[in-house]
Structure formats: C-alpha cells, structure tokens
C-alpha cells in the first residue's frame, strides 16, 4: 500500500516552547491512524501544521494524493492545502452557526466549483447547473452522514453530537484523500460515539479516504486504528498496533494520572 502522508522529523516552536519535537508519521492509503497523547502534548498543533494553519519550524510534510504524485506542502496556504485534498475537523467545533446545515456542507463544495461574480449575477446555464450540483452533492453527503432531516435547520440548533458529524460532513464535501479528525468523539455520549465509529469506518471503506484521528476515547482508538502514535510533550514516545500500545509501559507512564486504562 502506498503512503498518502509522510511526515519527516516535524518540529514546531512557539517562541521558546517546543510544541512538537521531530515527529515522524506516515499514513497509508485507506488506513486509520490514531494520534493520542495527554492534553497539551501537541496533537492539535500537529494537525495545524499539516493543514497550513502553522508553518512548521523544521521538517518535511509530503502528500501523495495520487499514487506517485508526491509533493511537499510546508508553508503552503491553508486553502490551497484543502484544495489539494486534506480536510479537517476542529477540536472546538467551528461551524458556520447561523447558516443552515445544508449550507455548511455547501461551503465545503466551494473549492470544487468555479462560478465567480459575473456568473453569479448573470446566472447562466452553467452557473445554475453548478449550483444545483453543489446542492445535490451536499444533500447526498448529509444523507450519508445521517443529517438529512435537519438540512434546513440553522447549524447552531443541532445537538452537540450532530454538530460534530456536520463538521465531518462539511470536510467530506471538499473531496479529500486524507481526513483529519481532531477529537471527533469529545463530548459525545456512548450511543453517539458508536454511530461515529460506524461513520468513520464507512468513510474509509466506501469513500476510500485515509484518516488521521486525534482522539481521547481509548475504546474507539483501540477498535478503529490500524496504527497508533503516542505523543508526550511534543515527542513521539511510541508507535504500533493497539495491542502494542496498550501494553507499552512508557505510554502508561505518560498517561499516569489521566487513567489510561480506565477510559476504555
């Protein structure tokens, strides 16, 4: 299997603080890779580096959207990276809260459409067809993520779990090859978590999207991930399968006081 994302010794400094310390990571096609670690260990910073929100201090990020098409994306603007096919969700939900659920997903389709100001004003055949395609594709994604019933609801009216799903739906609308989920199960009840788990598996199997997932819910991490990477104070302290990580004494020590096994 080809790798879609390769990160080589990524380092990120904030002034004197080293939030990420030469971390290597690889995501292969149609894999689910989990990035775990105690709070403040640099997981969100890592995903911000991948999506262009921060420019990494050192290291290389390579993506291969198509087999063989390898390209370095350090320092490329956020929206360009999204266009290239890395989509993400946010740890602290960032929906367009006054827009409807459907419109939120439609924004995700923005980068796959072309109509400009003139097209909008004249609204010719091509623009109308493109608009309808945006609507139809977005609705289809809502159906697949189980949000179709709330399509016309303002996003802020959704329950918490549905808002997290909507973030995923919106990210899917950009047609990514790699989906980055930052704590997608945070604040969900067990039933919502189960539904989420099933959704993530479906995204991988049906849409053939590789997934890098940051998550605290150990049960979900253990059951979904092909591989797990553990960060602590910005350093990678372990990497392996669920079973290997579960028994790793370094990991247990890093989580001490956070009740690593108790979470599961």
């Amino acid at each position: 299997m080809d790798s879609v994302l390769t990160v080589n010794s990524l380092t990120m400094n904030f002034g004197g603080l080293r939030a990420i310390d030469s971390v290597d990571l690889e995501v292969r096609q149609e894999q689910i890779v989990a990035l775990i670690g105690p709070n403040g260990s640099g997981k969100t910073t890592f995903s911000n580096c991948l999506t262009g929100i921060y420019e990494p201090t050192e290291g290389d990020i390579f993506i291969s959207p198509t087999p063989g098409g390898r390209r370095r994306i350090n320092g490329i603007k956020i929206n360009r990276i999204a266009e290239m096919g890395i989509a993400r969700t946010f740890q602290n939900i960032r929906l367009f809260s006054n827009m409807t659920v459907l419109e939120n997903v439609m924004i995700g389709r923005h980068c796959r459409a072309k109509a400009g100001v003139l097209g909008a004003v004249l609204r010719g055949r091509k623009t109308r067809r493109e608009e309808q395609e945006i609507v139809d594709r977005s609705y289809e994604i809502l159906v697949r993520t189980g949000l179709a019933d709330q399509a016309d609801e303002p996003a802020k009216n959704l329950p918490y779990g549905a808002q997290r799903r909507l973030e995923i739906a919106r990210a899917l609308a950009t047609e990514p090859f790699l989906l980055l989920l930052d704590e997608p199960a945070a604040g969900m009840n067990p039933r919502e978590t189960d539904e989420l788990e099933e959704l993530i598996v479906r995204i991988r199997d049906e849409a053939k999207i590789s997934i890098l997932m940051i998550e605290h819910d150990m049960r979900m991490v253990m059951s979904l991930s092909n591989r797990i990477i553990v960060l602590d104070y910005g350093e990678k302290i372990a990497e392996g399968t669920a079973a290997q990580i579960w028994e790793n004494p370094d990991v247990i020590k890093a989580y001490l006081g956070e009740d690593f096994h108790g979470d599961a």
Partner: protein, 410 residues
C-alpha cells in the same frame, strides 16, 4: 418580594439621577439680581421621570429575556407575524403591486421638493445596499465607505468640468474607479481584523477628504465644483422640474438593478463564501476558500457601488465639495445597514427610508434630531441587535423535497 426589590432599585436610580443633575438643573445663579435660584420643581421632575423610565426599561429587558427562552429551548418556534404575512402570495402580490404603483406615481402625486427628498433617500438605499455587501455579508467593518462615494462624485465632476463628458459615459467609469480604489486600499489592509480594519478605513476616508480639500489645483479645494451637468436623455433639454423627475426614475431603476445584483450575489457561491467568512475565518479557509481574494471581491464590489452612486449624486446636486463627504456620511450609511438588519436587502431599504425620510418630515424636531437618532440606535442595539428585518437563510431544493419551498425555520 420581587416587586419591592425592583421598587427599591428604581428609587436609588432616581436618587442618583437627582444628585447628578442637581448642579445644572436645580441651582441657577441669577447674575443680574445676584441671587441663587433653587428650582426644586426640576428635581421632582427628574426624580419621577427617571424612576418611571427605569421601571419601564427593566420591564422591557425582562420581557426580552422571556422572549428569548423559548427560542433557545424549544423547537416550537413560530414565524413572526410579518414574515407569515409576507410568505402568503395573496397578501404580498397586491402589496408589491401597490408599492410599485406608488413608486411610479410618486412624482405625479407630490411636489418636486418631495420627489427630490425621495431621490436622496433612494441614493442612500443604493449606498446602503453597497455597504451591505461589505459589512452585512462579508462582515468587514468599513468606516471609510464615503471615500469611494467621493471618488465617484469627483470623477464625474472633474471629467465633466474638464472634458465635458456626460453622465452615462462616466457612470461605469465611476464604478470602475471606485473598484480600483477599493482594491488598492483593500489589498494591504484586509489582513487586519475587526477593529483594526475599522480604524484604517476610517483613516482612509479622512485622507481622501483632506486631499480633496487641500489639493486645490486638482480638486478646486473647499470651494468645490459647480455647474456639473445633469444626466442627459438623448439630448432632450429639460426644465428643472422635469430633470428632478427624470433623476427620480433613474434612481428607482438603479435601485432595482442594485437589488437584483445583490440578491443574486448573496444567493451564489461567492455570497455564501462571504457569509461563511463572516462566521468563521479559519474554518472557511480550511474548507478551501481563499480568504484574501474573497474579502477583496466584497470590498471592491462595495466600492464599485459607492463609486456609481457618487456619480449620480454629483449629477443630481450639480455641485459638490469635500464637505459632502465627511465621516458623518459613512456613519449614516453604516447606521442604515445596522438598523435595517445586516445582510438583509429589505432591511437595508427600510433602514435607509427611515433614517433619511424621518428627519425630513419631522423638521419640527430638527433640534433633537441627533438625540432621537442616538436613542433609537441604543434601543435597537439593546432590544433588537439583529436589526429591523432579520435575515432568513435561503432554503434550497434538493433530493426528495421536490418543488415546494418553505421558510427555513418553519
């Protein structure tokens, strides 16, 4: 228990007000007879007045709180009455027809003085709709909007003065120059956020005005430019009265054009991107939207409109000088957008008509104009911060839903 607490609160407020106003409203030194007058009656008025007002104020606030609760908890949200009426074709069709007939008949029914006032109001409708793109849709606080208005007005005035160019030739030129200035200013400053953007645009507005005031060789300084040609119509010569009516219809047509364009824009890919950018910049970029380009488009389009309206303004008044383009104008246009309801076309039109026409027809209160204006604004911000008309998101046709369309919150 509750009522007595409210009572005591209001009592202390009135006491406080009486104390505050004591030196200016109660004591008066009569310098002629060299005695001090004690006007205790004023104190009583202040006391009773502030007591009652504070009661009413808190009653309104508590009502507002109550009104908000069902919206947050419940799903039984019904549409406001006005909205339901407007959703009914049997009601809005005749209403629109009546409105259209009234608009067409206006110059025939009223004097040319009234027509002139209405034209001014329509100019502000157009300005408001233009700024609405920038502030209402894209969420960029632009306090120097009047600068682009000035650019349009001066481009017509100068080109007309020096080269005798006509209104119709310059109308698009004014728009283009507005856009050019919009891009020139927007490019460096659009990376700034909120307050900083507001300050820079405010400064820009003042710079343009000061240049116009001081660069005599170019702009004729504070004395301005007079004898600007009115808009022509195939070379027909018109009396002043006819010209007034002609400009009125011209303005109606341009307003309709503006409404058409803005309406299409806000229901488009670009319009959605503006609104999303206003809601959350980072998420927007992470969805692949080019922040700088999208903002710049909004800024330039807003400026285009201001430029065009500037040309019309110069042609209507036939005289302009830098004093027409002070910060007060920017503030006025911004108030129209905020009062009417950000992002809502109907709201902005309503806001413009209210803010421009009320002072004209309430000349009797002209001394209190600013006071009333300020009070209205404060009350709006407290009780209805979303503006008179709330913007309702459009509902799209998709999948199984077929042809019927319904309002978003039903």
């Amino acid at each position: 228990m509750k009522a007595s607490a409210e009572f005591i609160k209001s009592f202390f407020i009135s006491l406080w007000f009486m104390l505050l106003t004591f030196p200016i409203l109660v004591i008066r030194v009569n310098t002629i007879e060299k005695v001090v007058e004690w006007r205790w009656r004023n104190m009583a008025f202040i006391g009773i007045g502030s007591f009652l007002l504070s009661f009413v104020w808190r009653w309104l606030l508590s009502r507002k709180e109550k009104g908000r609760q069902p919206a947050e908890t419940g799903n039984v949200e019904t549409l406001p009455l006005g909205r339901r009426l407007l959703a009914e074709p049997r009601i809005y069709r005749p209403a629109l027809t009546a409105l259209a007939l009234f608009t067409i008949a206006f110059p025939l029914l009223f004097s040319s003085y009234q027509t002139n006032i209405m034209t001014t109001a329509l100019i502000y409708v157009m300005l408001g709709l233009g700024l609405n793109i920038v502030v209402g849709l894209a969420g960029l606080l632009d306090l120097g909007y009047v600068a682009f208005y000035a650019v349009g007005a001066y481009s017509y005035a100068l080109l007309n003065h020096h080269f005798g160019l006509g209104f119709w030739a310059i109308l698009p030129v004014g728009g283009l120059l507005g856009a050019l200035f919009g891009i020139l200013l927007g490019f460096p400053v659009l990376r700034l956020r909120g307050d900083y953007l507001a300050i820079v645009t405010l400064g820009f507005g003042e710079i343009i005005r000061l240049i116009l005031e001081n660069w005599n060789a170019f702009s004729f300084g504070p004395s301005g430019i007079a004898n600007i040609s009115r808009p022509g119509l195939f070379g027909i010569s018109m009396t002043l009265n006819e010209a007034t009516i002609y400009i009125y219809y011209l303005m109606v047509a341009l307003c309709l054009f503006t409404i058409f364009v803005v309406n299409r824009l806000q229901d488009s890919r670009i319009g959605r991107a503006w609104i999303a950018l206003r809601e959350d910049e980072v998420a927007c970029q992470a969805m692949g939207i080019d922040k700088t380009r999208t903002k710049l488009t909004a800024f330039a389009l807003g400026a285009t409109w201001a430029g065009m309206v500037g040309v019309i303004f110069a042609a209507k008044t036939t005289f302009i000088n830098p004093a027409c383009f002070t910060f007060m104008e920017s503030a006025m246009i911004l108030s129209i957008v905020v009062l009417g309801g950000m992002g809502s076309i109907a709201g902005v039109i309503l806001g413009a008509l209210i803010l421009i026409l009320t002072p004209e027809y309430l000349r009797a209160f002209s001394a209190y104009r600013m006071l009333l204006f300020g009070t209205a604004m404060v009350l709006m911000m407290v009780f209805r911060p979303q503006g008179i008309v709330t913007n309702i998101r459009r509902v799209y046709r998709y999948g199984t839903k077929g042809k019927e369309s319904r309002p978003a919150q039903a």
